[in-house]
């Protein structure tokens, strides 16, 4: 598939691969953690800012359907993930629930990578997607935690606080608000910092993420084949459904593909933090390895091009 190679041979994806290689050949390359944190602050805020501007130009009525769909899928995907993890993955209840929380939530970097891939492929997209990203992040985590039936007031509340005030949602929502309040003209004044260099920063960020993912990949052996299969199946399954629904409710093809990548993705920043607090007995060796070591690279390399192709096909289908 041409689109696949096209997607794989890009600075962003190759930087991720380079990061993995760095770990495999045991290079002493290391991105200082302050730089890594600085980059994630930059990326999240910038994505919010861009989304906020788009939002300020989108009529509220146009948002109703996408928001409803996002909430619905945000509640269904953790249930689906829980079911597959218990049935096919043979996980215990707590571990399955923890993993479900991750697949119910969303990975901002997958979202960003999908945006870039769509931009490259030239098909039209929707500006309001970052708002959906913020909405999608929370319900999956709540439902995942509820599935563990460990909703002792304290843990659950603490975990929710963590998610909602957590820096990833905070920065994105903050950026959204600022972008929406300021509008295009004023955001233009900070564009040379937040917009133009964005993809280059993403490139360095994925270099680091590749290194982290590589150390996760090492843990795959102990994770078991069944879980690895699920780590590829679930994003494809959830993502395809979401892409189809997106096209169905009238998103632009590019928008639907990005939406698919979002719904298909598994969180590896917000969800782990929340799960670690509310379900400390769940094994990070399972949920982190799956989300960061399997599902993220899967989406980055195979998932996103599939969703783009699918969205294009479905969008053109009814036209003739």
């Amino acid at each position: 598939m041409d689109l696949l190679t096209q997607n794989l041979i890009s600075p962003v994806v190759l930087a991720f691969v380079l990061g993995m290689i760095a770990r495999w050949i045991r290079s002493d390359l290391e991105i200082p953690s302050a730089i890594y944190q600085g980059m994630s602050i930059y990326l999240l805020f910038a994505i919010g800012l861009k989304g906020g501007v788009a939002l300020s130009e989108t009529p509220a009525s146009e948002l109703v359907l996408p928001l409803g769909l996002t909430l619905a899928l945000g509640c269904l995907t953790p249930l689906s993930a829980f079911f597959f993890m218990r049935w096919f993955g043979k996980l215990g209840k707590v571990d399955a629930a923890a993993t479900a929380a991750h697949y119910g939530s969303v990975s901002a970097v997958t979202f960003i990578a999908a945006i870039e891939a769509v931009k490259l492929s030239g098909i039209p997209s929707n500006g309001y997607l970052p708002a959906l990203l913020a909405v999608l992040e929370v319900p999956g985590i709540i439902i995942g935690l509820l599935l563990a039936q460990k909703s002792q007031a304290g843990g659950m509340k603490h975990a929710l606080r963590e998610v909602v005030t957590g820096k990833s949602i905070f920065l994105m929502v903050g950026g959204l608000a600022i972008g929406a309040a300021c509008g295009q003209a004023k955001v233009d004044s900070v564009a040379p910092f937040f917009i133009a260099p964005f993809k280059g920063v993403l490139c360095l960020f994925l270099l680091e993420l590749g290194m982290v993912a590589a150390s996760r990949v090492r843990d795959l052996r102990s994770t078991g084949l069944r879980l690895v299969i699920l780590g590829c199946f679930l994003p494809a399954f959830h993502g395809a459904i979401a892409t189809a629904c997106g096209v169905w409710i009238g998103m632009a093809p590019g928008g639907a593909a990005i939406f698919g990548a979002m719904v298909g993705s598994a969180s590896y920043i917000a969800a782990p933090a929340a799960v670690r607090i509310a379900l400390p007995e769940a094994s990070p060796g399972i949920y982190l390895t799956l989300s960061l070591g399997v599902t993220f690279p899967f989406n980055l390399s195979v998932g996103i091009p599939i969703f783009i192709k699918l969205a294009e096909t479905l969008s053109h289908a009814p036209t003739p």
Binding site: S33, Q37, V212, S215, R216, D219, Y268, I269, P272, A273, R276, I277, P280, E281, P284, G285, L288, L292
Partner: protein, 106 residues
């Protein structure tokens, strides 16, 4: 004028920052010092992977408070979290600086 007190050192995932500070306060700590640390331990997960580096707490306490805090850390967190802790005997001057309720021996 030198007074013997205890230094409690706790190395833990960044996640437990707030709970640890609270725990130390409950045991009478008047302050604490935090440094960022990397580390490897018995658990597979290196905290750094996904939530920034480990935190290394140091807190000067009365010997009894340090022991009690160490016990509580061990009971509440050792099982499910990446935590390690130890107590050292140290000497300070003007121990009033450290006495909120327990160490009036200066």
């Amino acid at each position: 004028m030198k007074v013997p007190l205890s230094l409690l050192t706790i190395v833990t995932e960044g996640l437990l920052k707030e709970p640890m500070i609270e725990l130390l306060r409950r045991h009478g700590a008047t302050g604490h010092t935090i440094t960022r640390a990397d580390g490897e331990g018995s658990r597979g997960v290196r905290a750094k992977d996904w939530e920034g580096p480990n935190l290394r707490f140091e807190c000067i306490l009365s010997p009894e408070a340090a022991d009690a805090a160490l016990d509580e850390v061990s009971e509440r967190y050792f099982e499910n979290y990446s935590v390690i802790a130890w107590v050292t005997e140290v000497k300070v001057v003007r121990s009033t600086k450290f006495s909120s309720k327990d160490s009036a021996e200066s």
